[in-house]
């Protein structure tokens, strides 16, 4: 038994399984990134891209440092900071409107000096803290109604709407499903759940009906090409089809490290951002994928395990929230690579190249470790 105080009596005990799983995934991701960009070696125009694994290492270092901070500081302190962090995040999302630099037609980045960062990534962590705080402070014994849960939903909807307007459908989706996952922890009235299912039965068809006014052109094309990939083999569906070809090309044992032809001959678009898994699957085959999927699944399940062991509601909610971010990112990214989800720009944690993504992932895993170490 630990003491009543949060400070460690027997010294901090690192959660070894979680730590090893994260190290394994990050190592695979880095090695895979090297393979994904190796095709660029010596190609004049894209030559610089061959070196991005080095900057990925820098980002991992930064992420680990920040993750250590979020591990070391008792998570309950963050409960108090949650409101400030959350509204600060929403404010910075607003800032994107003013300062945002335009990349691929979407304003997602804020530039400070030569340093750009993506507030929507950090918003995910802030959202988890905010909803965890709400759940923490609202213990109920009776099953909840949606009115009881309305504030938590609003906390999710506000940043999701802001991100959606950037427009970034992927992150908005992650924010919403994360919020919903955390709400799903609570005991909800059976009738309320049925109401939601009924609303979905009406809402999804009507969303499809009004899709042209809700979604942006390219989002719409991606969605439609997902529904019918054969219709447009040159446009949005092209990426998905090439990724599936690469994955299929891997077969059981894969083409070998840095041997996947789809990747090495430049047939795979967005291979280091959206489709690193396709590179991995082509290089390592089904067996490699099985190992990787097990690692990801382990982290997700371990997050639930940590939540179940958490000492308080806030800790449990944070663990579930962090696990949800991790799980949904992984599932959506793998799903879009294998073609069971539409192509939305959702990164694969610790595999996709990108500072904001890596740092956010490591920070959030820091929280998970934090909860695990203080049960």
């Amino acid at each position: 038994m630990r003491g009543k105080d949060a400070s460690f009596r027997g010294g901090p005990l690192i959660d070894m399984p979680l730590f090893l799983a994260i190290v394994a995934i990050a190592t695979c991701g880095l090695v895979n990134l090297y393979s994904a960009t190796s095709a660029y070696v010596g190609s004049g125009t894209h030559g610089k891209l061959a070196d991005i694994y080095v900057s990925q290492i820098y980002w991992i270092v930064v992420g680990v440092l920040l993750g250590v901070i979020t591990t070391v500081i008792d998570y309950r302190i963050f409960e108090r900071w949650a409101t400030i962090l959350y509204w600060g995040g929403v404010f910075s999302l607003g800032l994107v409107w003013v300062l945002g630099s335009d990349i691929r037609g979407a304003s997602r980045w804020i530039q400070i000096g030569s340093f750009t960062f993506q507030p929507s990534e950090f918003m995910k962590v802030a959202l988890v803290l905010m909803i965890a705080r709400y759940i923490h402070n609202d213990p109920q014994t009776e099953p909840r109604t949606w009115i009881d849960l309305a504030p938590a939903l609003v906390f999710g909807l506000v940043p999701a709407a802001a991100v959606m307007a950037q427009p970034d459908l992927g992150t908005a989706t992650i924010l919403m499903v994360t919020a919903l996952s955390m709400i799903a922890m609570t005991k909800i009235r059976r009738r309320s759940v049925l109401n939601v299912l009924g609303a979905a039965a009406v809402g999804i068809p009507s969303f499809w009906y009004f899709r042209t006014s809700i979604l942006h052109g390219y989002q719409l094309r991606r969605l439609e090409s997902f529904i019918d990939p054969e219709a447009d083999k040159t446009g949005a569906a092209w990426h998905a089809l090439q990724a599936q070809t690469a994955i299929g090309n891997g077969g059981l044992t894969g083409e070998g490290f840095m041997q996947g032809t789809q990747n090495q001959f430049g047939r795979l678009p967005d291979q280091f951002s959206d489709f690193p898994f396709a590179v991995f699957a082509e290089d390592w085959g089904l067996l490699g994928c099985l190992v990787l999927i097990c690692l990801y699944a382990f982290v997700c399940i371990w997050a639930v395990h940590i939540a179940s062991q958490a000492r308080d509601r806030f800790g449990a909610a944070v663990a579930i929230g962090v696990g949800a971010i991790f799980f949904w990112h992984t599932l959506f990214n793998l799903g879009m690579a294998v073609g069971i989800f539409p192509v939305v720009g959702i990164t694969l944690p610790l595999f996709s190249y990108g500072g904001s993504s890596v740092v956010t992932t490591l920070i959030s895993l820091g929280f998970l470790m934090n909860v695990s170490m203080r049960r």
């Binding site: 660029y40 994955i247 299929g248 090309n249 059981l252 789809q262 997700c300 179940s308 599932l331």
Partner: protein
């Protein structure tokens, strides 16, 4: 800091965790199941697609076969030509493009249009933009040189060889040899399976068209990898990813040797210099081989076959098709004319065979014959003439009388025995059939009534009777050789590009006309008289020392009114066609010759001199070749082996 312990509250979540684990497992299992589907069950299919993605086939060009004349002179060959292609995605419009425009010597308008096209392709699709587009066709040597020297800076721009057909003799024999055209969309869809591609040229007329499948050759291909970075070891990659066979050598087209002697065609052209339009055919009476064919006016196949730019091509076609003298028409094969008096030998043979006339029978010519309610005019007043004199002097009255005593179907039948009214089957260019009118034809076309006068007209080769120049030449060849009608032959042999004969075409007999040789002798004596006797219609125009026999003809044409023709030129189009059909030498014939001068007037005056000069050249050529190698027909290819 102190935190209160809140352990008890966690109980609310307990029941949910299990479901969350289930959800996680379901999600990852779904991904894994899909992976099994992609990598195991569809693995082969995806691997094949992946291989297709990185391998492409480079087309290896082939060369079109050469067409030669009977002595081995090249009539159609290939000349090197270069097209400039560009990859829109690679061309730097700011730095490279202006220089390229300067090097290619493009006009401002052209350059602007091309630039617009590049920009629009780029904006439309990034994948299309990586495919080459044609910038300029057939650049000249200077431009090619400049492009080659500056190849390094002209990223995305490339000169690609694309041979163009070249006809060294220009318009000589152009109708026979034919010309090339660029394949159009409709044709392409039909011919895609036979290995044609957009931008290909194929034979449009003549031998080029008829023998297209032999001439074109077969493209080869070579597999290559796409998207290989420069530093990679290409050989090793190719060995790994390219399946055998990795290439297919192209097969050059077959060469074709014609029966035509281009020197003879040149003589025809020179002999016809004084005339506006017409046709000449010379046939070997012993084989049916066509030794020369000329249709005037002609065209230059070099201009029509591409390699001059689209605008010039369009102008050339417009000019050719608006010319009232029909330069594109092959008048030896595709057009029909009334044969006029050149048909008389056949009428005479029919009557002699049937016994409706005897050689000694005489007619009294007072300048015509009254038959029914019509007066049929003769060319002059010939007094009393027998058959021999009637042929020599071309007396219509004699033949009107002959016609009065014979059935029109009999006249048509002997014509068809000699190959009139039926396509000869030469196979080159669209062939006209001509017409041998029968009684049933007349009743069909003239509301059931038949007039006896039509038989009189048929006997002198007028009325509804029409023939092609080639038919006439072959029928005279049959007269000359004693009645053997040959299949006309234009191609002697097919050879591979290294000179091995693949196929040789022996003469083919169509039919042997049953003739009483004594009847034939009477007719042929008459035809010798045409040239050799004082009264002969061709006597005045003979050249001493040229041994030739034949029959002149002056064929009346349907009267043209001003409509459709320039009024100032109506007189020309109303003038008679001048004919000469004959063979040489008169006693032991080797060639048959037919000369048609469209709207030339009298046959003796206008057609005989042409025939004389052609036969004269043929004699000279024969002597020369005898002295050198052997008979003209058997001369070997001029190429040094």
């Amino acid at each position: 800091m102190n935190f209160p312990v809140q352990r008890s509250d966690v109980g609310e979540f307990r029941r949910r965790f299990r479901w969350m684990v289930v959800a996680i497992l379901v999600g990852f299992t779904a991904v894994f199941v899909r992976l099994v589907q992609l990598q195991i069950f569809q693995g082969d299919q995806h691997r094949a697609t992946a291989r297709e993605n990185i391998v492409f086939q480079n087309t290896l060009a082939t060369t079109r076969g050469v067409i030669r004349d009977t002595t081995g002179k090249v009539l159609a060959a290939n000349r090197p030509s270069y097209n400039v292609y560009g990859v829109p995605a690679k061309i730097d419009l700011e730095k490279v493009w202006p220089r390229a425009v300067q090097y290619m010597r493009l006009g401002e308008k052209e350059a602007a249009a091309l630039r617009d096209r590049i920009v629009s392709i780029r904006s439309k699709s990034s994948r299309l933009a990586t495919q080459q587009i044609l910038l300029v066709a057939d650049v000249d040597r200077d431009v090619l040189g400049v492009l080659a020297t500056n190849a390094d800076e002209l990223v995305g721009i490339e000169a690609v060889p694309s041979p163009v057909r070249y006809y060294p003799y220009g318009s000589l024999g152009a109708h026979t040899i034919g010309h090339m055209r660029e394949i159009d969309g409709e044709m392409l869809t039909r011919l895609l399976s036979r290995g044609y591609k957009a931008g290909d040229r194929l034979g449009a007329t003549g031998v080029e068209r008829r023998w297209e499948s032999y001439l074109k050759g077969q493209r080869g291909w070579k597999k290559a990898l796409k998207g290989v970075a420069k530093e990679k070891n290409l050989d090793e990659l190719e060995a790994r990813y390219l399946e055998e066979p990795r290439s297919l050598e192209p097969v050059p087209g077959r060469d074709i040797s014609l029966t035509v002697d281009i020197e003879l065609v040149k003589a025809m052209e020179q002999a016809m210099r004084g005339q506006l339009a017409g046709a000449v055919v010379v046939v070997d009476v012993r084989t049916g081989r066509i030794l020369g064919a000329l249709s005037k006016p002609g065209f230059d196949p070099n201009v029509l076959s591409g390699g001059v730019g689209k605008d010039q091509l369009r102008d050339a076609f417009r000019r050719l098709y608006s010319d009232p003298l029909n330069p594109m028409l092959d008048k030896t094969i595709s057009a029909t004319y009334p044969p006029g008096s050149t048909y008389k030998p056949f009428s005479a043979l029919a009557a002699l065979q049937d016994g409706t006339i005897r050689p000694a029978d005489q007619a009294d010519c007072h300048g015509g014959l009254e038959y029914g309610r019509r007066y049929f005019r003769c060319t002059g007043v010939h007094r009393r003439v027998n058959l021999h004199q009637a042929i020599v002097q071309s007396c219509n009255t004699y033949f009107y009388q002959l016609g009065a005593g014979i059935n029109i179907d009999r006249l048509a039948q002997i014509g068809m025995d000699f190959g009139f009214g039926v396509r000869t089957g030469i196979g080159v260019n669209p062939e006209a059939r001509g017409r041998m009118p029968t009684r049933s034809w007349y009743t069909h076309h003239y509301k059931g009534q038949f007039l006896g006068g039509w038989t009189l007209l048929a006997a002198i080769g007028q009325g509804a009777t029409t023939v092609t120049v080639l038919q006439l030449a072959l029928s005279y060849a049959a007269l000359a050789n004693g009645g053997t009608l040959y299949q006309p032959q234009l191609v002697r042999s097919i050879e591979t590009s290294d000179g091995t004969v693949v196929q040789e075409f022996p003469p083919r007999v169509r039919r042997v006309v049953e003739l009483d040789q004594s009847d034939l002798k009477i007719v042929k004596d008459g035809m010798s008289g045409v040239i050799m006797e004082n009264e002969g219609t061709g006597y005045k125009y003979r050249i001493d020392g040229i041994d030739m026999a034949g029959k002149t003809g002056t064929a009346q044409v349907d009267r043209v009114t001003g409509r459709g023709v320039d009024p100032k030129k109506v007189w020309y189009f109303n003038r008679d066609h001048a004919w000469f059909a004959g063979y040489a030498p008169a006693q032991s014939p080797e060639i048959a010759i037919v000369v048609l001068v469209e709207h030339g007037g009298g046959g003796g005056k206008n057609a005989v001199p042409v025939a004389m000069r052609v036969v004269q050249t043929w004699n000279e050529l024969k002597q020369k070749r005898l002295a050198q190698k052997g008979a003209p027909g058997d001369a070997k290819r001029g190429q040094v082996q």
